[in-house]
Amino acid sequence: MTSLLHRVKSNLAIFAHRKARGALDGEYGSVFRGRSLDFDDLRAYVPGDEVRDIDWKATARHGSPLIRRYVAVRRQTLVLVTDTGRNMAAAARSGETKKDIAVMALGVMGYLAHRHGDVVGLVSGDAEGSTALPAKGGEAHLERLLRQVDSAATLDAAPSRIEDQLEHVARTVKGRNLLFVVADEVPAGPATSELLRRLRAQHEVLWLTVRDADLAPADPSLQPDRTAGDSYSVSGGYPLVAHLARDPAVAAAYASAVAERDTGRTTMLRKAGITEGEVAASQGVINALFALLERHRRAG
């Protein structure tokens, strides 16, 4: 089995060649500020760094922007929260498995944290229970976390219930941490909203939504995976009749229901003060994370 982290790194490398090298590191560092006042050294500015971290005097002497680095006295803890129920073994909008996209996103975020010197923990699970892996550093630990997600999210797993994992975090995780939640299209609800407010009061929360498969595409010819005809539900195994979903009335009703749900979820997260990003395919993970971090930094 190829290393999951290796895949994450190669993805990052491709991205790094396309964008400015290290831009993501800069974004991460400015989002998750873990600095002390003890000056360590200077390094070159990379896009995404906080402007106020620029050492203007050194920059003037040097001729190019330099960033002040401090000795991190307090190691940040990044807690990855994800769903490993059977819903995550289902198809995403791109036709891939949602789990693969989630593993890629968790891996990128965890690797950024690792490079920043932070420790990474994991809370995952399904409706039957949550598994918490303690926060540690090191690539081997990160690989273990990703393996845990990858192996747990199968079609035989229990139904998904991300609220259970969030409650688990609220109950057991002490102190102020960084939460990175990867879930599918979670419906908005008063209980969830309350839970998110409670979490946001304690932690810094980033939310990444993996888009679900479009069950009734308005224009079937635009579907990326056109050969995939019929589908079946992961809960119960009953088949969906594809040509019924092709009915224009059904497709329109489904599209409006999806739009309504998306609006509800976005509103719920915004009200709770949580920045949300969404991703439909594993190729889009890094761009989506970049946009998410950028937005979160702007939001302050």
């Binding site: 036709g95 299209e185 498969a213 079946y232 019924l244």
Partner: protein, 340 residues
Amino acid sequence: MWWWLLPPAVLAACLAAWAALRPDRDRNVRRRPVAHADRLTLLPEYQAALRRHRRWLAVAVLACASLLVSTAVAAARPIDVATTRPEQHNRDIMLCLDTSGSMSSADAAVVDVFSQLAEEFDGERIGLTIFDSTAIQVFPLTDDYSYAREQLKLARDAFDGRPGSSGFLDGTWSGRGSSLIGDGLASCLNSFPAAPEQAGSLKPSTGQDPGSPPRSRSVILATDNFLSGEPIMTLVEAVAMAKDRAARVYALNPGDLDYGAGRDQPGAQLRAAAESTGGAYYALDDPQAAAGVVRGVEETEKSALRGSPRAVVTDEPGLPLGVALLSGLVLGVATWRLRP
């Protein structure tokens, strides 16, 4: 007939149903798993579409089942066993008309009726013999009905006394007497084909093709039995001959001149003679009533000569094949509606 086809057909249908309905572990292999399917399936629009789909599926299943059943039934060759009494069309009818002057109107009525009946005949043979003192065979037993009608028309004209038709009766009067009934009846009987193919005889005849059924014989004898002269054969001898040849004699007497009920009265004699052959005797007050009586005779003849009941076995593929065709059409429509 091929009823044994049905159990194998039922067995095959059961096997097919079992194979179709048994839980298939790999049925979702070609499908992609999706989450939150209820977000689609609980939509009212999807439910309505699903109901339509299910209705057409049910129609298709029913049509398929009915197609299978009807074709299996058709393959088993359903038969209809009907008991029929075939009407005999192998009668020989000889009209034996006394042409003495008192009889002409009754003769005309009889001839008239038979010329009409000849239109409906199919297989019967009809002959006409007229007699007074001598018997003349106008035409022998024939199934050439147009010819028979032509001759019967001539006879009718003659009996009505139309001008120019008197030659028809030539030769019936030779001066030896009048209404020599015994001779006349004997002449009529002689115009039936010769024995051995008597009615009711089961022995295959040598002269005729052995497959043809025996033909019944009946004589319509119109006479007043008013004998004058010396016949060669008496009525009793002629009737014995009729019995010998298995011919029924139906006697029509338009002018019953009996006085009292004595056995020697002409009417009584004729009655006894006719009834002894298995026929009947009708005394008519009005010669014109002969028409109705002759029709009655014809009807009794027909029913009396019905053949023995026979079981007729016929294939009845029409209903199952019709149902199969209908089911096939319905199945086609349903499949067209269900196409993805």
